[in-house]
């Protein structure tokens, strides 16, 4: 009985969050982890999943799978579960993973939990702890039925990197024509930047930055730290920054090791997207800004003075 892990790529590289999902599965049963990769990948990239805990990699390399069409992917995931007799499917939270897994749960008759934050409890059936109310609480949920699907939040396990390279097995499921009625006509994305949900460090700016022309402050600090950049909702509403950087209740929920908030007041809806960060640093000129109540480290000061100094200090400390 194997555990199937759906892994996603980003510009040819397997995402770190997917590698974490492989490690998570191997922590449940280290002898039976099969990673599933769809579309074109270099063999070396897939073999390396073994170091994270995969025993083998099922590779459906058809070019028709290079685009993530939700309906098509859900059918392939379901067939892959059957192919390797997997009763458990694990994947990392992502825009594509969430949408695909939901369909797959119906096709594979699986109970499903998203935003899982810990290893399952197998003492009485199969239950998991998941984050709810946008990180403000947790629920312990029992998954019924013969099959189950778990979507993991980032940083749920420590990534394993010391395993042996995995064997790649080709997988050529029949692709149902129906799903291809959906066509992806274009993809627009930034290149070369750390993706926000994948990032281990996030530097976010709010309305306190005064305008998009000042974002170099955020970007310089982020590049000194190898971090992704985020923003508050008004900042993306005013189009100072693209929408995919919007963090919070109605935006991206992040759980990095370090979240640095600059010129963000700390409204409850913003906190909902960041409260599972390990460490939070707040820089705000108002000592009464609510964000200080939810932070680990704080500096009261003007971002335009403090941030360049901080960037310099980080560069100097390397």
């Amino acid at each position: 009985m194997s555990i199937l892990v759906f892994v996603e790529g980003d510009q040819g590289k397997i995402k770190n969050s997917s590698r974490e999902a492989v490690t998570y599965a191997s922590s449940i049963d280290q002898s039976s982890v099969v990673a599933l990769a769809l579309g074109s990948f270099e063999a070396s990239e897939l073999e390396q999943l073994g170091t994270n805990g995969a025993n083998s990699v099922l590779h459906a390399s058809s070019e028709r799978l290079n685009e993530g069409i939700i309906q098509v992917y859900a059918e392939v995931l379901t067939k892959a579960m059957e192919e390797c007799g997997a009763h458990t499917l694990v994947l990392a939270k992502s825009a594509l993973g969430d949408a695909v897994a939901a369909r797959t749960s119906i096709l594979s008759n699986a109970g499903m939990a998203s935003n899982v934050v810990a290893l399952p409890d197998l003492s009485d059936g199969f239950s998991v702890m998941r984050s709810i109310y946008s990180g403000k609480a947790f629920a312990h949920v029992k998954l019924k039925g013969a099959n189950r699907i778990l979507i993991l939040k980032k940083n749920t396990v420590e990534l394993k990197t010391n395993g042996e390279p995995a064997q790649i097995v080709q997988f050529s499921p029949e692709l149902n024509q129906e799903g291809f009625s959906t066509t992806i006509t274009a993809t627009e994305r930034v290149s070369g930047e750390v993706l926000l949900p994948e990032a281990d460090i996030v530097v976010s700016g709010g309305r306190g930055l005064k305008g998009p022309e000042n974002w170099h402050l955020i970007e310089d600090l982020a590049s000194a730290l190898g971090a992704a950049t985020g923003c508050s909702k008004p900042v993306s509403d005013m189009e100072w920054r693209p929408h995919h950087e919007h963090v919070g209740q109605t935006g991206i929920k992040v759980s990095p090791s370090l979240y640095i908030a600059i010129g963000i007041s700390g409204a409850i809806q913003h906190l909902a997207g960041v409260n599972s960060s390990k460490v939070i640093v707040v820089i705000n000129k108002d000592p009464d800004a609510p964000f200080f109540k939810s932070a680990d480290y704080g500096i009261v000061g003007d971002a335009f003075e403090v941030v360049p100094k901080l960037t310099e200090a980080i560069n100097a400390s390397k």
Binding site: I70, Q71, A74, A95, D98, A99, V100, A101, A102, R103, S105, I106, L107, A110, G111, M112, N115, S127, S131, I132, Y133, A137, A139, H140, V141, K142, L143, K144, T182, T183, T185, R189, V190, L196, P197, E198, I201, H243, H244, H246, Q249, S257, L258, Q269, A272, K278, V279, V281, K293, S294, A295, D296, Y297, G298, I299, V300, V306, L310, I314, S317
Partner: protein, 245 residues
């Protein structure tokens, strides 16, 4: 254009989250309930599409009578009629089965909902309904236009967006900036009172999950303040104490 908008009835985003009865139940004491913000976006876009293309909007909610004011608000915003499936929304699977039971016989061109509810953050119902109906499901949708029976969609992906074309009907899990939230006006509120709200009994369905108990996160420790002139101290703390650099 016949549009079905499925809405949740959830605690306001500023609600204090607490549990009662030995952490087995949500404490709804003093909590204000709203249409989920993502469904509010979906509904707002449905109203715009109806203005542009004509047609009708039905709102659907699976839940008890306590949600009726929330449903009336959706009618005030611009839906034409409403259906409430009179059952507690036990889990995503159960809710999806109820939506499917309503939608399978009424040929909707579009089924809109939020990308996820803000209470359980499951993000599953749109995909489940799509799979049950065997039609496409797309999420998270940040733009939606209909041209000659084909939907042109912008879907958010990590670091950018994807442009998609999909024939009707399909299910969309919506998010901003698909439309601006609409505030009901006086006329909307008055007319909502007389719009039909049909209450139907649920179909038999299993659940696939059950909640054992709830838990609150540990309280944050106290904050350490660093002088604005001593940023190197912050760097040292992040390195040596927090160990995140």
């Amino acid at each position: 254009m016949k549009i079905l908008v499925c809405i949740t009835h959830v605690p306001d985003t500023t609600s204090r989250i607490a549990f009662v009865n030995n952490n087995s139940e949500f404490d709804s004491n003093g909590v204000q309930y709203i249409i989920g913000p993502y469904e509010d976006y979906a509904l707002a876009r449905a109203v715009e599409l109806k203005e542009e293309l004509g047609g009708s909007i039905t709102v659907l909610h699976v839940g008890g009578a306590e949600a009726d004011p929330t449903i009336r608000k959706a009618l005030a915003i611009g839906a034409d009629d409403a259906i409430r499936v009179n059952a507690q929304p036990e889990d995503s699977y159960y809710v999806a089965q109820q939506i499917y039971a309503i939608a399978k016989d009424d040929s909707y061109d579009l089924i809109l909902m939020g990308r996820e509810s803000i209470d359980y953050n499951g993000g599953q119902v749109h995909g489940m309904v799509g799979a049950l109906m065997n039609i496409p499901s797309i999420s998270p949708v940040m733009q939606l236009n209909i041209e000659n029976g084909v939907a042109k969609i912008t879907r958010e992906i990590e670091g950018g967006k994807e442009l998609i074309e999909v024939p009707l009907p399909f299910v969309a899990g919506c998010q901003e900036p698909i439309a601006e939230w609409k505030i009901p006006n006086m006329r909307g509120i008055m007319s909502a009172r007389s719009k039909p709200l049909q209450v139907v009994e649920p179909v038999d369905s299993d659940t696939m999950t059950s909640t054992l108990k709830f838990q609150l996160p540990p309280a944050k420790g106290s904050i350490k303040m660093i002088d604005a002139d001593k940023v190197e101290e912050l760097v040292a703390l992040l390195k040596n104490e927090a160990k995140v650099l």
